[in-house]
Assembly symmetry: D2
Homo-oligomer: 377 residues x 4
Amino acid sequence: MPGDSFGHSFRITTAGESHGPGNVVIIDGCPPGVPLAEADLAEDLARRRPGQSRIVTPRNEPDAPEILSGVFEGKTTGTSIAILIRNVDQRGRDYADIRDKYRPGHADYTYDAKYGRRDYRGGGRASARETSVRVAAGVVAKRIIASAFGGRVVGYVRQVGDVVAEVPDPAAVTQQQVETLPDGAPNIVRCPDPARAAEMVASIEEAREARDSIGGVAEIVAVGVPAGLGEPVFDKLKADLAKALFSLPAVLGVEYGVGFGCARLRGSENNDLFRPADADGAAGARVVTGTNRHGGMLGGISSGMPIVLRAAVKPTSSLPREQATVTTAGEPTTIRTRGRHDPCLLPRFVPMAEAMVAIVLADHWLRWRASSGSGAG
Amino acid sequence: MPGDSFGHSFRITTAGESHGPGNVVIIDGCPPGVPLAEADLAEDLARRRPGQSRIVTPRNEPDAPEILSGVFEGKTTGTSIAILIRNVDQRGRDYADIRDKYRPGHADYTYDAKYGRRDYRGGGRASARETSVRVAAGVVAKRIIASAFGGRVVGYVRQVGDVVAEVPDPAAVTQQQVETLPDGAPNIVRCPDPARAAEMVASIEEAREARDSIGGVAEIVAVGVPAGLGEPVFDKLKADLAKALFSLPAVLGVEYGVGFGCARLRGSENNDLFRPADADGAAGARVVTGTNRHGGMLGGISSGMPIVLRAAVKPTSSLPREQATVTTAGEPTTIRTRGRHDPCLLPRFVPMAEAMVAIVLADHWLRWRASSGSGAG
Amino acid sequence: MPGDSFGHSFRITTAGESHGPGNVVIIDGCPPGVPLAEADLAEDLARRRPGQSRIVTPRNEPDAPEILSGVFEGKTTGTSIAILIRNVDQRGRDYADIRDKYRPGHADYTYDAKYGRRDYRGGGRASARETSVRVAAGVVAKRIIASAFGGRVVGYVRQVGDVVAEVPDPAAVTQQQVETLPDGAPNIVRCPDPARAAEMVASIEEAREARDSIGGVAEIVAVGVPAGLGEPVFDKLKADLAKALFSLPAVLGVEYGVGFGCARLRGSENNDLFRPADADGAAGARVVTGTNRHGGMLGGISSGMPIVLRAAVKPTSSLPREQATVTTAGEPTTIRTRGRHDPCLLPRFVPMAEAMVAIVLADHWLRWRASSGSGAG
Amino acid sequence: MPGDSFGHSFRITTAGESHGPGNVVIIDGCPPGVPLAEADLAEDLARRRPGQSRIVTPRNEPDAPEILSGVFEGKTTGTSIAILIRNVDQRGRDYADIRDKYRPGHADYTYDAKYGRRDYRGGGRASARETSVRVAAGVVAKRIIASAFGGRVVGYVRQVGDVVAEVPDPAAVTQQQVETLPDGAPNIVRCPDPARAAEMVASIEEAREARDSIGGVAEIVAVGVPAGLGEPVFDKLKADLAKALFSLPAVLGVEYGVGFGCARLRGSENNDLFRPADADGAAGARVVTGTNRHGGMLGGISSGMPIVLRAAVKPTSSLPREQATVTTAGEPTTIRTRGRHDPCLLPRFVPMAEAMVAIVLADHWLRWRASSGSGAG
């Protein structure tokens, strides 16, 4: 398992690059009986897809999935599920300009340092194309947690550049709000604060016009997660979620609840105090906290409160302007990326992040089924 | 491996609780021939130890390690190394006040939710005592990376409350600066900015006098790491480091390089441009970046630049004051923790974080030996 | 990893069933630079293929592989390799006769007991079709060990029914002998003893004519393996090889060297005595044993002597005759399998077993690169 | 996990050597609430202990276990359990005679080839002392399977040299029969056929008097295992059980049910036909087989019939007589082992093998809890 597998009891393994025949995921550990068809994968794949709006890359990839195994008569069999998404938009073009140069901010140099060779036509495994099959696997994970405990994962864009959305109650955000503006138009930036959404779109367009790109922050919320998921030491739920998020491209930070803000707080300000749950306690919990600075996990184990996390996503490294760099031989040069790149990664990052969070929750729920509960019953 | 193991080719597995006989780690995958004796573990264990200064908990644990296996004639044999650290300071006392109440901010409630039972005398596996054996394992990891590539991991306190240290060049900080003030006195807060160090100590003492606690940020730097460590997809170096950090108690955020600051940057501001290395390039690198906003990893693989990460650590949850909570039966009550707790976790967090970073680097170096380099040579 | 992955540093994960779209393997951990093309997979796939001779099933599967990832410009990139083999010969037919009955000796009942549902059209994951992609992965493994240490894996049929081949020196058997008879005709039973090969073919044909099937023993030899591969305790080379062999369908026994015969021996008869290697010592070994009752591993670690193992393969369970069984509702009934089945599994078992042995050796060689050798060099 | 861990959801990791301070196991994944105290470990440890009878090594090791963690108020907590067994009988003696010579049949040479260095005072990790903590972990596993499904594992000696026990119904053998002869005397050879037991003891004593040793076969039976345990492909129950058995020292063969005998059978002779279970079907099964040539697993998944396996154990390699060998420098020499060794490994092998079988069953039961059953319920 040199790095292409993730998870323990619900486990995904991926293969594929940006410029090869396609990407494939094998999902291992999905219980039998989960309803699944190729059409079920369409919605989240469309949310991740290039070409979906005017603020993402204009590349055109249909991202049509083929389920190769693990489903019979419309339901999972309990054995491994393989999903293949073929690459389509691999324009034949002259790669001479990038073949022998290291693109700043990309993995070209580090791949060469690691492997001694690489497919110079694109990002290879480091490309966001690899995430297409993660999103497909995330659909399976979302179904498992929805069925098992009514769990729901909603992600959205919290910040783009200096524009920060107001989100009074992260746990109340709906996918409807994330995908559609109040006037019914598509919420192409996926920010549930409509005023800030418009500002974010303007910022992204401004960056693109300046032949530049812009960073941001995504916030992901999981609601309905019962208390008790996560392992006590290394496989803390917060540790596995962080690994999941940092395994996505371009992430430079992850925080939970009050996050880095905790550094300025005193314990008496930071502690979330327990109180009895009302009749409508989260997931039938007996105990809740009145506030949620802890972000839904204590000791690395879910507390029954909403899990709230944020990921900082850097501005796209590929820029349609000259940047200084070196050749693969180490000589100074300049490079201007001609690919069709996202001016801001955040809108397409949201479904990727949701998928990874759902995969971690499905895994830890299956792990909980194995090792917890009554001693040997 | 339900959560008590960490790593792949260099792997640690721990057991032990705060109030049991002791904690033990089994280190698997350490190459043969690494010089190791119990005395070698003393320095880092002393840096993590309770009772080391006036700003940490006054509990008194000698933390004397016993190497049970894997070392012969002063060197590792290549087989599994077990290290035992017995608990000593388990004062017999009346636990009636905490037995039936959930301490705010602690894992009492979540452990009960997960397991249905727990050792109510302390934090069990969630206690920082478990980290003692991680620090011991970290010493082994530090030796491996030092010998293999001259790697060095230095951690320090960057922020306590509102006090933020000036650290012009993280890669230049020495352990000497972290441990000793310019006047030769112990740097008990482990901040390499002497002026801020004094302010931090004052903040911590003020918090303690207010029967409160205070949060902060630690910064960890790994220098000398060659380009090419890390796996391309899920086991990105940044992903494994983040998991390692979040597996420590009380961490609410992790970021690399410019971190969350990237959200406000444009690509042209954020990209670190490659240039030829000078004769003294890091670890013999041909290529370097003039700036290090990326924090030493691109595409999840080390770039040869210093790895710089920060972890946000919440204020200690245990407070010597009344806090509202509930009983294990769900009834409202109050609790006042009488244990001898750290008013600020940061000074003792530093060696724990260094250990985890070193463990990840040793693991990925061994993984690199296995899977990279020449095709089959 | 609930059971569809195998290996540690060289790791394969498979998906696919007998009656779905196809089978796929993801190979993780293959070093960069290994020459690989789809054509390279053809030879071993043809050895495993149905319809290859008159003594195997007449089903017709072309087993044409598609490499989906991990290869660029004719060499592996070091990242995960996916290989897809589509199913072709899935005749539409009436499954009513097997849909509600448990075939004796098959996994129908146990899959139902485990999962509560299954694809009744065939063996699903338990089908030998799953092994097609293992054989493809085995080709990659064979290349690695050949390049790394000149390792070579040769399998053959040692016994069919009462016919036992004479093989004076297992380490001297060549694939040429296994595949081709002295007269140049194909050695369809894959037994290197030509006289016994003819008897085996006769036995198999006799069994088929009797609407029956017949069992046998395969012997697999790995030569050129240097001393030092294998881990000391649970991942002994003999343990991982045994797991690999028992993971193939229909295997009821595995033994090394003198195998079960050791029960009747005294230590003085069984011990293989060390002596200095001649100039042409195996893989440059300093020390060899004059005999090889130990089968090439001591303490679970390769000794430099040829690795010799045998697997007992039961007679095909599917029989074209009435057998008593029960319905899925538990009522007595009879069943007569109409599928086109192998009268003897052994000829097609040979390449499957070779592949699994090669995969284990490639894995342990990469593991050796990681954890052994000089302490930290 | 370079080879010192075993299992997936119920996982053990061991450390320790024959001549170090002691051996330790960390058991990960044991559910909470399993009653456990140090005294519970005594019985099986005594069965494995040196010095237990006149036909085993006279070394004297008390093998007193200390539970270091994971148990509170007499029950497991659900977190990792560490058990330490210190070495006591490490006689100071002159090792000059074995320090520079490779003992035939031992791992001295292969460890040197692998690691380049080793503790020459004994077998290190390859010593049977390592199995003491496996037996302790096996007690925990036995409790889990007993509580979960009434599972019971009974091992015994089936063959020593040419003496083969008659065991008409392996599933009916009781531990009482294995441990005690009909006349109430201890059954020191652990063979449930009293007449053959006496012959076996005579054979062992004869071998010892001839300054030799003798091999044999152990048979292990697991009854009460419900249908449905095991994973479909690589982690077949038969594959994991075989790996477990081959991870023990001195095992040269493993077979299930009819085992190697299947090679001589036709399908019509070998198939076990299904029939409706009587009211007293095994573990409440609806379906049983009238015969059990398949050994309790079909497609690698338990069938509900008794699991029956046999392991071939070679004669002890250490002999109190001169044997030819080489020095570590590769020069011819002779060696005469002066250690106090077992003339036959089988009596002490039985509890080791039972432990490993129980560990695999506990692991697969927990895995079944995670991944099987209703889709997401």
